[in-house]
Amino acid sequence: MASSSTSVVVSNKEKENKNTKKVTLKSSDGESFEVDESVAMESQTIKHIIEDGCANNEIPLPNVTSGILSRVIEYCKKHKEAAGESEPSVTSYTSNSTTNPLTEWDTEFVKVDQNTLFDLILAANYLDIKGLLDLTCKTVADMMKGKTPQEIRETFHIKNDYTPEEEAEVRKENQWAFE
């Protein structure tokens, strides 16, 4: 009698461990973040590392600083939660509809300075998180809409290497895009 009850307790514990399996991600500046494996697997890069059996203790991410990594984890957590609550089809990353409950959260999430925004793009690309990459790229696109090329150069600190004649010509060729 006693032995059977012990085995029941053990199997429950095993199940518990399996549900909340964790991984540790280490940022470039040495900070460690413990997250649920399912959340970490929002990143295809991390997913492959885990599946290949290379994730022993920690997964080092030398291209991502702690500040950015914590934000990325926040994004992944939020999106994983939403996916778990409703059907996968609702969490459409490129959705323009207001019915997407995450749209508002996403909009707030990308209200950051330019420096952070591009760091997020680099991180999303490196970690291969499609939703985050699409979101951040769309934000950059929105920042450019309605601006003149000069305003875009100023916003993004890009050097103008056209001579005035060259610039006038390329502008004339693409006049239709300014209407």
């Binding site: 696109a141 090329p149 875009i152 993004f156 103008n160």
Partner: protein, 413 residues
């Protein structure tokens, strides 16, 4: 541990990340997510962006073009079927239509439309003034319109034997190919802004050249194809470096025996392969062209794909209706047919021939009839990528935009 090169960010001590710090690959990926109109604007920002957008983003965006309907010319009116759905596009098209006087639709290729019109050089003069001849190219989706002049000629109708060679997935530039008689091609290249004549006279046999040629051409894989009533498909290779001898490579391909010398035929590109269709009293046949380059000579083989009894298609029609294939759908097993009675009553319908059980006519609009005026139909592929405008003035302005030295040099045709 090897010392790796510092990237921009590290050089700036990681203080500031700007968009220029991103690698070219990442820049391209981000830029490709933007709509084409925004990208056209962004080419004005700086040279490296212009280079990336024109050489990478636009070709990527043009690699698969959407198709919703065809364009036809009926009673000198150009109709876009199932294409003009956006209010803005319709409004834009209406203003363009008003500026085109006697409009003639000549060709449509990968989203670009070619037409021809003439205007009086001196509109005020009463007597017949010389006419200004112009080709026009337009893209409905990008709302672009441009004209290219041709020197005046007493018989301007000859200029209507022209076609477009345009593949935005390879290059933003296009060519207008005017078939100068039966011995040369007069080609306008938007890259150079000039017309060049290339002879091909001796490459085609006499009877092939002298037979009537079907007006419509199809551009496929760097070549223009035309049907000759001599029973041949003529292939003009237009995408090639102009050699010193200024000749264009031409060959004639024998058509299937049963289909020879009949005008009730058409060619088209379907699912990336050249197809040929022919109709006679009993059947509609569809072939595809297989091209083998095993030996030094080119080997072309027609594979019969489908034979459909005409009765199956015409069962509900007035007797003595006959079929003429007009064009192929680019992706589906569908062909665009025209149904004629004594050459005066004419309807354009799409016919799905893929699965025998499913063969049927898509009677889109049973009340439209065009009369004998509908001579040409082209599948209209939708291209969001812009084409260069104002290229005619290129040669005069001596364009010298150089590519940034540090970027790889990709040749564009």
């Amino acid at each position: 541990m090897k010392r790796r090169k510092l990237n921009n960010k590290e050089r700036n001590h990681g203080v500031f990340t700007s968009i220029d710090d991103l690698s070219d690959d990442l820049k391209i990926e981000i830029l490709c997510k933007f709509p084409a109109k925004l990208l056209a604007k962004l080419t004005c920002v700086c040279k490296s962006w212009q280079f990336l957008i024109i050489n990478f983003c636009f070709p990527k965006m043009a690699s698969k073009l959407a198709y919703t309907g065809h364009v036809s010319c009926v009673k000198r009116c150009i109709n876009f079927k199932d294409v003009l759905i956006d209010e803005k596009l319709i409004a834009w098209w209406k203003t363009i239509e008003r500026t085109l006087n006697k409009r003639d639709l000549l060709d449509s290729c990968n989203g670009l439309v070619l037409g021809f019109y003439t205007t009086a050089l001196y509109p005020q003069s009463q007597s017949s003034s010389p006419r200004l001849c112009r080709y026009y190219v337009l893209n409905i989706l990008t709302q672009q319109f441009d004209t290219i002049t041709k020197q005046p000629h007493p018989r301007t109708s000859r200029y209507k034997y022209a076609a477009l060679a345009y593949d935005p997935s390879k290059s933003c530039h296009y060519k207008i190919v005017y078939f100068q008689g039966f011995s040369a091609l007069n080609i306008y290249n938007s890259k150079t802004g000039v017309w060049i004549s290339l002879k091909y006279q001796h490459q085609l046999e006499h009877h092939v050249r002298k037979a009537n040629w079907e007006k419509r051409s199809v551009y496929f894989d760097g070549a223009l194809y035309r049907l000759s009533m001599s029973g041949h498909l003529i292939k003009f290779i237009v995408d090639q470096e102009i050699t010193a001898s200024a000749r264009v490579k031409v060959e004639s391909i024998d058509l299937p025996e049963v289909a020879k010398k009949s005008p009730l035929a058409c060619i088209g590109v379907n699912q990336g392969v050249m197809h040929f269709s022919h109709s006679d009293k009993s059947n509609l046949r569809i072939w595809m062209l297989r091209h083998n380059c095993i030996r030094t000579d080119n080997n072309y083989v027609w594979c019969l794909k489908y034979t459909i009894p005409s009765q199956a298609i015409l069962s509900q029609m007035i007797p003595s209706t006959y079929l003429k294939p007009m064009a192929f759908h680019p992706y589906d097993d569908t062909i665009i047919l025209s149904l004629r009675v004594d050459n005066w009553f004419c309807k354009i319908e799409e016919y799905y021939f893929g699965d025998i059980q499913e063969n049927k006519l898509r009677l889109s609009d049973p009340h439209t009839h065009y009369g004998s005026a509908c001579k040409v139909v082209f599948p209209y592929l939708q291209c969001e990528v812009p084409f260069p405008i104002g290229t005619e003035k290129l040669i005069r302005s001596k364009r010298t935009i150089k590519q940034p030295a540090h970027l790889k040099d990709f040749t564009s045709s």
